[in-house]
Amino acid sequence: MSQAAFEVIEPGVFTTIQDLGRKGYFASGIPPSGAMDRFALRMGNLLVKNPIDEAGIEMTAIGMKVKVLKETVIALTGADFSAKLNGNSIPLWQTVYLRGGDFLSIGKPNRGWRGYLCVAGGIDVPPVLGSKSTYTLGGLGGIRGRTLKKGDLIPVGIPRSPLDTLKGRMVKESVLPEAGSEKELRVILGPQDDHVKEESIEVFLNSSYKVSIRSNRVGYRFEGPQLFFKERPESRDAGLDPSNIVDDGNAIGAIQIPAGKEPICLGPDGVTMGGYVKIACLIAADMGRMAQLKPRDLIRFKSVTVDEAYLILKKLIESAEEKNIQIPKE
């Protein structure tokens, strides 16, 4: 039997339970969901010796305040929310020991936008369609398919390792995301870049874009220059605007450009299909970078090949391994 380890005093803005997402329901219109910054979740799980795909808590823009109900060990990763335990600062990317009666306050991010809390034993909610991830639009996963709210009791599973073996574990600095790296989002052109004028592809790849305030897990919107489309023959099924196509499936990370304005890059809760040209798709490794962008940040899109994307992702996944956890010397 799992026990509640936390009571939510203040939930923050958009706080959800997420693991690495749901597979097998894309054809039913249910996107994978899951942690937007997967590296941060994986690292958090590693620190507390959970399976790497265990569920943690994702916080956006404002963290939560919780009362600790029992002895446990957590790790905070991702954005730096200047978290405090009973009023004292606690570190990021390392384990923190908590006692019943403690008060954990996770404030506002001074760097990044999404923070993760992983706890030894994992968040113990029942998987829905194979995943604990919360998908709020469909009301699936997490706690009743919604964001956390005041008064929620968060159940935690049984730790895999004794809590005292988790003491002092921290991520090696060499594998932490570089400061400023989020300013560049790497994309692979396609599937419909051939609908866009060559000059506009250049504009897309060489302009500075501003993150819109209307960005969330469904999609990030970017304000930037107008893009133009090639002439195309009239289509019975595609709609009148040249940014329309006959509806097709949207990859997670696909960048739609409705009317050539405001590219929308779909996040883990993205709509599964649509009728807009997708000029490019974000590489999987950079979804975590996008997750850390806050409104009004400036970014650029950089084009890479699938082979480059492979190497980037391989390196990222291989960095989230036990060899990159620093263990305190006895």
């Binding site: 894309f26 599964t272 699938v306």
Partner: protein
């Protein structure tokens, strides 16, 4: 048109789009369904899932298990063996609908756009069998094509999408009917409301035992007009979890 050979388009490094053609036709949809079955049976390593659509298929894969170029060569092999499909299994599902009034406030506009009366719109829409060509956008939302309608109903979409569409709304945009499974924004013209769920996140009705989504590509829908009283009665049955969907297993030929 349907292309001579399919196009393989990068959709990032974890998804691949396989495009069969550039139009919404039953023929293209049949090809996608055949391809979908063949890909699933091929058990390519690293393959995760497919999302078959009107004229293309989105495939997700694990690039750490199979490199994109290898995946494409595997798919080319599969493609050579996809049988010509003239017939597909298809469920015929009845959905009760209350048309017009507060259940479908844009019915009058649809009638005007087609230069017929609202009653005629309802008659044509509920007589015509609808084909599920794709499911998505929101959980379980189908896009439906009219099969051999006596008059093809067509209407412009909203120029600026409304922010609220009631759950269960049946709406027309162009000549495509959509059903809104959850409250969401929308741009299609609202013609009616169905009293039964097509998405049940609690999976409480027995039909949803295996999946919270009722519809899939290749299903057909028959909308059955009901009055307000029947509408409420059926909804009551849904709440009591005693409603039984009317479903027939059939096959459909091109």
């Amino acid at each position: 048109m349907i292309y001579e050979s399919p196009r393989y388009l990068y959709s990032g490094d974890q998804y691949l789009t396989i495009e069969i053609g550039n139009e919404m036709t039953l023929e293209a949809n049949f090809k996608v369904i055949a391809l979908d079955n063949a890909i699933k049976q091929a058990k390519i390593k690293g393959f995760i899932e497919t999302f078959p659509g009107w004229r293309s298929l989105l495939l997700s894969y694990d690039s750490m298990v199979i490199r994109t170029s290898d995946l494409i060569s595997e798919l080319r092999k599969v493609m050579l063996q996809v049988p010509e499909v003239k017939e597909v299994p298809s469920r015929l599902i009845e959905l009760p609908v209350k048309y017009g009034g507060r259940w479908g406030p844009d019915l009058g506009f649809i009638a005007k756009s087609n230069s017929i009366s609202p009653d005629e719109v309802v008659r044509i829409h509920s007589e015509t069998i609808h084909w599920v060509g794709m499911v998505g956008f929101t959980p379980g939302s189908p896009q439906l094509m009219q099969l051999k309608p006596s008059i093809l109903l067509s209407v412009p979409k909203y120029t600026s999408p409304r922010i609220y569409t009631p759950m269960g709304t049946i709406a027309l945009g162009g000549s495509i009917t959509a059903i809104y499974p959850v409250v969401s924004p929308g741009g299609y013209q609202m013609m009616g409301l169905t009293s039964v769920p097509i998405y049940d996140r609690f999976q409480s009705l027995s039909i949803f035992e295996k999946s919270p989504v009722l519809l899939r590509i290749g299903d057909r829908i028959k909308f059955v007009q009901v009055d307000a009283e029947e509408f409420d009665y059926i909804r009551q049955r849904v709440w009591e979890c005693s409603y039984e969907y009317k479903i027939k297993q059939e096959t459909v030929a091109l």
